[in-house]
């Protein structure tokens, strides 16, 4: 072949290839947006704050463990071994403990990123009132997460002064957001002292009290009232009793939460939003529930509802121990019409418990025999919470 053709063809193909190689490889995701622009609008910041709230729902936080594992690690109950859960915690086995470290710090980082962004200003559509509310809610949330961490991973301040207990320090306390790989890889936040942790928590709460209206946006969001209530508890842990009294008094006087009298006490727990709540983590949609295996309801009772105790419900993994039963005078009681009737004893609806005059005894009743664990006396505190649509039961 002629050299000229050769060159012609070769250069054509090089042009073809080379020209196309410079094509754009840009592909943008459609269900995510670049971090650089995500928080430039009021809507973006609102949505990002929702995520900080939503992390409270995690199983490791208020989804289950801060309530369930606390009980299992303490001596108030025992495991039924129905699904095999809580055994390690109840036995106080090494490493069977709280695990809310990661989720809490992720939430704190989100709060820090948002606080940094709010401080930088220039958020489309946000006026001063909005900025204040955001800052107040985020500081409340940051304080709550840090308080839950410092309680679980360091000593309680009032306990350090006991003989033999050495202050091992508090928890790491980053106050700036980490959103670049540089910061994420290289920032090594040391442990703060316990005092520094509590100082920061109280300072955040005082800011929240200052920035938020007492009633806030309702019981499922941070409010001035909720910040006062939390401050009271933090002060109590720290041994600053005067502050605790003042903050608690302020919280009780506020518009959020009504203390129920003894007659309404049990009914209060059966409502979707507890009337006494000053801040309540909301499981609003069924998809937000943790489901039949690890939700609070399933952890504490096998019942699906009180209308029909024979229906198969949760696992009922953790039940009160004898001391608690004695405290409230709880014993199994046949309430059916005729114990000799065919199947009367096997019918779980024919059973309840005896109770003493303590209204808290109404938080307990008999479970069922559907899982063949035997009918046990269980806590039904969480029966009415909407955290229990059915995911598929598994071991």
């Amino acid at each position: 072949m002629k050299i000229r053709n050769w060159i012609y063809i070769l250069s054509a193909s090089v042009l073809l290839s080379g020209g196309l190689v410079s094509c754009s490889l840009d592909v943008d995701p459609r269900q995510s947006i670049d971090a650089d622009i995500a928080l430039d609008t009021q809507e973006g910041v609102n949505a990002a704050i929702n995520s900080v709230y939503a992390r409270l729902r995690a199983q490791a936080n208020y989804g289950r463990d801060l309530l369930g594992v606390s009980d299992a690690l303490a001596d108030v109950g025992r495991t039924t071994n129905n699904s095999g859960r809580f055994i390690g915690e109840n036995n106080n086995q090494p490493n069977a403990h709280f695990g809310h470290w990661a989720n809490s710090y992720f939430a704190i980082n989100e709060a820090n990123i948002l606080l940094d962004r709010i401080a930088a200003g220039n958020i489309q559509g946000a006026n001063q009132g909005t900025l204040d509310r955001w800052e107040g809610e985020l500081k409340f949330l940051r304080a709550l997460y840090y308080f839950d961490l410092v309680k679980a991973y360091s000593y309680i301040p009032t306990a350090i002064h006991l003989p033999g207990v050495v202050d091992e320090g508090g928890i790491p306390m980053p106050l700036e957001g980490s959103i670049t790989s540089d910061v994420a890889v290289n920032r090594l936040t040391p442990r703060s002292t316990i005092d520094e942790n509590y100082d920061q928590i109280m300072s955040d709460l005082n800011d929240a009290i200052r920035l938020l209206t007492p009633g806030g946006r309702g019981v499922q969001f941070a409010s001035g009232n909720a910040a006062q209530a939390l401050l009271a508890r933090v002060a109590l842990y720290r041994g600053e009793y005067q502050t605790a009294v003042e903050a608690a008094t302020g919280a009780l006087a506020g518009p959020v939460g009504t203390v129920l009298n003894a007659n309404n006490y049990a009914a209060g727990w059966r409502t979707a939003v507890h009337p006494e709540s000053v801040f309540e983590v909301r499981f609003q949609l069924s998809e937000e529930a943790l489901g039949v295996n690890v939700s609070k309801q399933s952890s504490f009772t096998v019942l699906l509802n009180l209308e029909n105790k024979n229906a198969q419900g949760g696992w009922g993994d953790f039940i009160p121990q004898q001391k608690i039963l004695d405290l409230f005078g709880l014993e199994q009681l046949f309430i059916g019409p005729d114990p000799d009737a065919e199947g009367a004893l096997a019918n779980n609806n024919n059973w309840d418990v005896t109770r003493n005059e303590d209204v808290r005894a109404f938080q307990y009743t008999t479970g069922n025999t559907v899982r063949n664990a035997g009918r046990q006396i269980e806590s039904i505190k969480f029966l009415a919470k909407n955290d229990f649509p059915w995911v598929i039961t598994r071991l």
């Binding site: 063809i9 190689v21 592909v27 990002a48 729902r57 710090y105 957001g177 959103i179 063949n372």
Partner: protein, 1020 residues
């Protein structure tokens, strides 16, 4: 068309010879290969222009002039022959295939090469080897067929996932899937089905495959650049052949059978085992407690004596739940294909129907396929081709693919307490089930429904244009389109559906992949000895995937089973993702007299998946070969008939990471109180780059004794450089980890392949082929001088990384656990070794040792084929050795009913410690404290559950009879074959679970099945 042409040519010859007739000679030309007549063969009287072409039956009639006594017979692809007529008037001629021109051709990257010229490590599997196997996807059929290629079925789901690893596991966090290419279309073989496993490769009927080539070394694969690090599997489908249209009808029917039932305890046995466990735990009234655990305690038990309760326990019935839920399924396959064409246009068409039930009703697989392949020569320069594959698959889904779900029959059938009746006396389902499972899985299985549908279009169109005699431009376009749709209903009559009055879910998922390749090929021979060729190409790929799914609860009655009847929508969600890749490549080859061979390739590839700083990468390779048999000292040597040395070095990349893994993003998550939420989902990672597979390969191809013994040996050292590992980020910084190209991994190994003709005498022949692979897989280096990964200490320097179960899963690492040493003979408590070699009940983290991984370091296959006259017997074995696995299903059963009220294996219970002095590995049975001794780890802790997964399996046994063509001709057939076939007829293994071959946790997975079929193939 062809026919007209032939007759025309024949007429032409006839007119030429009309006036010179002297004597008439007739005959038939047949092929020695299949003993079939050859139409269109040329028969010429030597030294004249007199000749003819054979007709459709291979017959010819010729007028031979006086003085001429020799016929020259020739046909394309056959060795020409000269035949002396003598005084015969009927001359039948047999032509042999031309070995030189028919020499085996191997499909390598973007082209074909003669096997003699191949310088990389390429294995080839002919389509006929995997023909008619009752397997839904060809990847499953590749098990044991080629050295270096390890194949494991994930489970026994028809059309389910298959785990295929070429030369070990080369990546920890990025994928390990090879690149599959069908007729130039690069496939995405991720599954994405929500309700079952729908293997994307099941779109292709195995019998449409002509050959499968596997590019194993990085040098061969480098031309595919960034996607080729895990090897490349190139599938070539059957194409049209010029000549009379050949029809083939193929059918087989048969059944799937369970390979094994687990031998579990009977009702009274379980009762007594439990009773003893209560006694061991110091419990009072053990008989009553045991009956209560089983839900079999009579209401008046307090009036009964322990002896009476014991009698009740000993008289409990036993029901075989496994045989109720696991049984035989039917399978059938029908297909019709036709191939034909003329010298300008050839075509191949086929259609098929495949149905297979699993051993767990109603799980099944039903597929229809249609395929068209057309090649057309428009003129001397331009040719066009297209291949279109359409398929539709419908699968009835299992309760779950795996997992310890109470309603999952594959989990519960062996674990449910055996005294529970399946049916009531009136034939209805028994709904009172004692034990932790508390569900009648037969009822659950009968009432739930689910369907997964997959429609696939894989098609291409290409044009080849000859710019000059030795320059060809090829323009290729293809589509890989996959549409998945699924639905599932949890019936309100089942426990999991009752609480929500039924739950319906639906899924749709579209994936579209567009690919174009533009190539220019050039070749030239200088001075008759220097053969040079070159290829230049460009490729662009764009893939998008999107989906929509939803779920609703609250159904009026069980008859309403689709979402529109739901009272409450639970969720509706969607997604979109996509990526692009482009690259250009160049390939140059040179050989001197086909003696010394050299190849160099380079590809420059870019992908949208990677960080801005590392988006493009260069993947070079060099290869060299030396055909020693072309040297003077070996030429004509009878003993050493072929000998080639090969050496190659190359680099290929791995791009199997998330589409947006390098981007810093906020994504939708964290809805709260009815309002939408967003949160940071990933850190920007500008330096995230390719993993590079760098391989040095040394090989020998050999043929001895006139190629009666052929094969190859390969040694390779494959290093994964820039290994992607997730470096931990302090959680206090808001993220868990960030991927970095920081480690190094190595797979070193030897591959051995040999094929022999053991006997070839008259009517009898015996041929064997055997392959063997040994691979050593180990981590060479981690980051920050770490000896093991903090997040997974199983990933450690010097240890194998294990085999990830499914695409997207990280490699599991080696087993790094405390070594279990059986029970204390005095007390029956389980014991482990601590780091000082002492026995302990409570091993700690420091006591862990490395005990191997689930990646088998040795595997292969052995095939033997015997033929005698028309009979044919094929026995194919596969084997794997050295893998260590845990089987979740066995682990539950190994607890021996102590932690949970589940049934137990007889082999385990018989070994349980019962009295001081018992030397055994199964601890004493107790019930207190969740079946766990006080101050002790659980009985399944550490290496207690590690199992040896070695097996040798008779994977295929086929007995067939081929009818003689001469008998068939009378009834208008060209070929007829009947066969009986068994798959997985025999497994030799020391394994306590269902089967040693599975991938994943093993809990609640459908085990592999044995398949038996009868079939017929008819050609006409």
């Amino acid at each position: 068309m062809k026919k007209v042409l032939l007759i025309g040519v024949a007429l032409l010859f006839c007119t030429l010879t009309a006036w010179a007739q002297n004597r008439v000679v007739t005959g038939i030309v047949i092929s020695s290969e299949d003993m079939l007549p050859i139409p269109g063969a040329s028969v010429i009287v030597k030294g004249t222009q007199i000749g003819t072409a054979t007709d459709l039956d291979g017959a010819f009639t010729l007028n031979v002039p006086e003085g001429s006594n020799v016929l020259q017979v020739s046909f394309i692809g056959m060795t020409s022959r000269e035949v002396t007529i003598g005084n015969r008037s009927k001359v039948d001629v047999t032509l042999d295939p031309d070995v030189e021109t028919m020499e085996e051709v191997i499909v390598t990257g973007y082209g074909v090469q003669r096997k003699r010229e191949v310088t990389g490590a390429v294995s080839s599997v002919k389509g006929e080897l995997i023909e008619n196997l009752p397997m839904q996807s060809f990847d499953r059929a590749l098990q044991g067929r080629a050295a270096g290629v390890q194949v494991r079925s994930a489970n026994g789901l028809p059309g389910g996932a298959v785990n295929i690893r070429i030369r070990g596991v080369g990546s920890v966090t990025a994928g390990n899937e090879p690149l599959f290419i069908v007729d130039g279309v690069q496939l995405n073989n991720t599954d994405n089905a929500s309700f079952t496993q729908a293997n994307p490769l099941a779109f292709l009927n195995n019998n449409d495959i002509e050959s499968i080539e596997i590019l194993k070394d990085a040098a061969s694969a480098a031309i595919y650049g960034s996607q080729a690090a895990n090897g490349v599997v190139i599938i070539t489908t059957k194409k049209g052949k010029a000549g009379k249209a050949q029809f083939e009808f193929n059918a087989f029917v048969g059944e799937t059978q369970p390979m094994r039932f687990l031998d579990v305890l009977s009702g009274p046995e379980w009762f007594n085992m439990r009773r003893q466990a209560h006694i061991n735990s110091g419990m009072t009234i053990p008989e009553a407690r045991s009956l209560n655990d089983m839900g079999a305690l009579p209401a008046n038990w307090q009036e009964l004596s322990p002896e009476q309760l014991l009698q009740i326990g000993n008289e409990l019935p036993t029901f075989d739940w496994q045989r109720e839920l696991i049984g035989r399924g039917q399978l059938q396959n029908y297909e019709l294909s036709v191939r034909g064409g003329d010298d300008r246009t050839t075509f191949a068409l086929s259609g098929s129907y495949n149905y297979q039930e699993s051993t767990f009703r109603p799980v099944d697989f039903e597929r229809g396929t249609f395929r068209a392949s057309i090649q057309h020569k428009a003129n001397e320069r331009l040719s066009l081709e297209t291949n279109i594959n359409l398929s539709t698959v419908q699968q009835q889904t299992p309760f779950a693919v795996d997992g310890a779900f109470l309603g999952n029959p594959a989990f519960s059938a062996s674990a449910i307490l055996p005294h529970n009746p399946i049916f009531n006396d009136d034939g209805s389902f028994n709904e009172v089930i004692g034990g932790v499972l508390g569900q009648n899985i037969a009822l659950v299985n009968a009432f739930n429904t689910g369907l997964q549908r997959t429609n696939t279009v894989i098609g291409n169109i290409a044009a080849n244009y000859k710019l000059a005699d030795n320059i060809t431009f090829r323009s290729f376009y293809s589509i890989d389109y996959r549409f998945l749709q699924g639905e599932q209903f949890r019936d309100p009559r089942t426990p999991d559906g009752a609480g929500v009055q039924g739950r319906a879910s639906a899924q749709t998922d579209w994936r579209t992949r567009f690919l174009t390749t533009q190539t220019v090929n050039w070749n030239k021979t200088y001075n008759g000895v220097h053969n040079v060729s070159a290829q230049l190409g460009y490729e662009f790929v764009s893939e998008t995937r999107e989906g929509l799914s939803g779920e609703g609860i609250g159904f009026p009655t069980f008859q309403f089973r689709t979402i529109q009847s739901a009272a409450t929508p639970e969720f509706v969600t969607s997604f979109w993702t996509g990526y692009r890749r482009q690259g250009s490549f160049v390939n140059a080859r040179y050989n001197y007299r086909e003696k010394y061979l050299f190849t160099a390739t380079a590809r420059f590839d870019g992908s949208s998946r990677f960080g801005a700083n590392t988006q493009y990468g260069l993947f070079p390779s060099v290869q060299a070969g030396w055909n020693l048999d072309r040297e003077g000292f070996l030429e004509g040597n009878e003993r050493i008939s072929a000998l080639k040395l090969r050496a190659s070095w190359g680099r290929a990349g791995n791009d199997q990471i998330g589409n947006f893994a390098a981007r810093g993003l906020f994504g939708g998550a964290g809805n709260y109180s009815g309002q939408a939420g967003i949160r940071p989902t990933s850190l920007a990672n500008l330096d995230l780059g390719w993993e590079i597979n760098e391989t040095v390969n040394l090989g020998i191809d050999y043929g001895f004794f006139g190629n009666r013994v052929t094969g190859s040996i390969d040694l390779f050292n494959q290093r994964t450089l820039d290994l992607l590992l997730n470096q931990p980020v302090l959680w206090t910084n808001g993220f868990g980890s960030i991927a970095g190209n920081v480690g190094e991994l190595r797979n070193r190994g030897i591959e051995f392949e040999v094929s022999t003709v053991n006997v070839d005498r008259g009517n009898f022949s015996w041929r064997s082929s055997f392959n063997f692979t040994v691979i050593q897989n180990e981590i060479v280096r981690l980051f920050d001088d770490l000896q093991f990964l903090p997040s997974n200490p199983g990933i450690a320097v010097g240890q194998p990384v294990g085999n990830p179960a499914f695409p997207g899963a990280p490699a599991p690492g080696s087993f790094f656990v405390a070594e279990y040493i059986g029970v204390n003979p005095a007390t029956g408590r389980p014991m482990w070794l601590d780091r000082f070699g002492n026995r302990t009940y409570l091993p700690i983290a420091d006591d862990r040792v490395y005990l191997g991984s689930n990646l088998a370091p040795m595997f292969g296959g052995l095939n033997n084929t015997f033929t005698f006259k028309g009979f044919e017997l094929t026995a194919f074995f596969t084997y794997e050795m050295g893998a260590v696995v845990t089987d979740g299903q066995y682990n539950f059963l190994r607890e021996n009913g102590t932690r949970l009220t589940l049934n137990a294996l007889r082999s385990v219970n018989d070994r349980a410690w019962t009295q001081p002095g018992d030397l055994t590995d199964i601890p004493r049975n107790i019930t207190a404290n969740g079946g766990q001794e006080v101050r002790s780890q659980g009985r399944n802790f550490g290496s207690a559950t590690l199992l040896n997964a070695d097996f040798i399996r008779l994977a295929q046994l086929t007995f067939a009879y081929n009818f003689k063509p001469s008998t068939l001709r009378g009834i208008g057939l060209t070929r007829a074959r009947v066969f009986a076939q068994g798959v997985n007829l025999l497994t030799i293994a020391d394994f306590p679970g269902y089967d040693p071959e599975f991938v994943g946790a093993g809990t609640g997975q459908l085990p592999l099945t044995r398949n038996v079929t009868l079939g017929v193939q008819i050609g006409f």
